[in-house]
Amino acid sequence: MPEVVIVGAGIHPFGRFKDKSYEEIGAFAAKQALNDAGVAWSDIQSAYCSRMYLPATSGARILRRLGSTTIPICDIEAACASGGAALRQAILAINSGEIDLALVLGVEKMPRGFMDPSMIYSPWQIQMGMSMNPAYWSMRAKRHMYEFGTTDLQIAKVAYKNHRNSVHNENAMYRKPFSIEEILSSPMVMDPIRLLEICAANDGAAAVVVASKERARRIGGKHINIAACSQTLAQYSADFRCPADSLSATANNMGPTEFTSNQAFERAGIGADDVDCFEVQDTDAFCEVEIYEQLGLCPLGEAGRLIDEGQTEIGGRYPVNMSGGLISKGEPVGASHLGQVVEIVSQLRSQSGERQVEGAKVGLAHVLGAGGNCAVTILKV
């Protein structure tokens, strides 16, 4: 396989921008990625737009703002894994030999509060009151607490860490540290998940310019290698997540995070211990807890210990969500994975300032969402 590299990265802050259209937010991130790469929009041969809640042909509507074009521009959707799906398409196109320079843009503009349930759930699930994504996450948390003794305090510590990390991220929405007491006394959203332990739907965009190794050499600059970009769908009953109506009590399939990261690790020729920094799906704080186990950072049931020991803090053995994670950045669904990728690029270029993981050479980005859609991207210097 030819190698594909990231030559430029750009991001529009994640937050709520009621006076800005999605076109404006998306074009900002795309333009920044092009400038960072030092290439012109007219040099791009194909573009992919990851979004979930925006209208048809959003990618073309946004990118036409950079100048008239005839290149193929496709919108890509795979729930929370949309960004990974879009990046993967660009990599495949470059690997096919048809093109050698592509733009991948993730963008979203979402209303406040619970997402529109009809995007994900069937009418009967909405009528019966089973149409809130956090309900599904919470049931995973309750079961983990029951089986392994994971505590409210351990879950709160993840939110504490991520909020604290976000203070140094100018692109995060909240950027405010909260004490453990403030987190534990914030309103219960879905037992046991509290308001300060859950991400908000919001607006944002992130983009990367990717190139073949040969094209990148001609462009010049410091490039980041894409060691793997895997996207999979959860195996039968391997993941209880919205909008599931049931779960097998007898099937014993490997979960999507483990399955996808195993595939990515194999393609990259490395293991979890070789990764210096992680950005993972913390749509709620418990989600990050179970991902520690599923990525192999600790054995099953021991994620609580890992957070107690501070191993996932910046400076720890496995730094996770240096950016502040989705808990503090918010989750503009189509943009979230590319936002993670932009953070890893910044880490591997040693441009992350106060939140820099010293000497980071390998980073992993992970997303997982509705229907068991999962993506893992591994980047290397």
């Binding site: 529109d116 909405i126 019966m128 009151g129 309900a135 049931m139 037992d191 097998s248 009590a249």
Partner: protein
Amino acid sequence: MDMVENNPAEFQRVPVRDGLLAGDLRRLDGVRLAGTRCHSCGEVSLGQNQVCLNCGGDQVSHVSLSDRGMLWSYTIVRNRPPGDYKGPDPFKPFGIGLVELPDGIRVMSPLDVEISDVQIGMPLQFRAFVQHVDAEHHEVIAFKFTGVA
């Protein structure tokens, strides 16, 4: 006992989702969740399906699932669900959970149990009930699990 249950002739009844319920909807105490058992891999899936949702095999039987189960996990819904929720108005917090049935499947269901009493492992009983009357004047039959006395 729902008042309308004694007047089955007045309304035609429909399940909240096609293929989800087994039994005569005019007699709610005989209604069960419908399931599909695969002759190839043995998995039981929810509802009447034409192929096995695990292996894709088409040698399947439609079965009625057990009306007794045990709570595998749960959460409490503290805010009115978005969209066309048909529960009580004004809203009353309620539990939802995964109920493990002896058939080898855990089913997502609203819980008709006092929220402070909900706990993992508790035994539960299936109940079909009239959830609402739809625009075509059909009584829509949904389900929940209640505590066992």
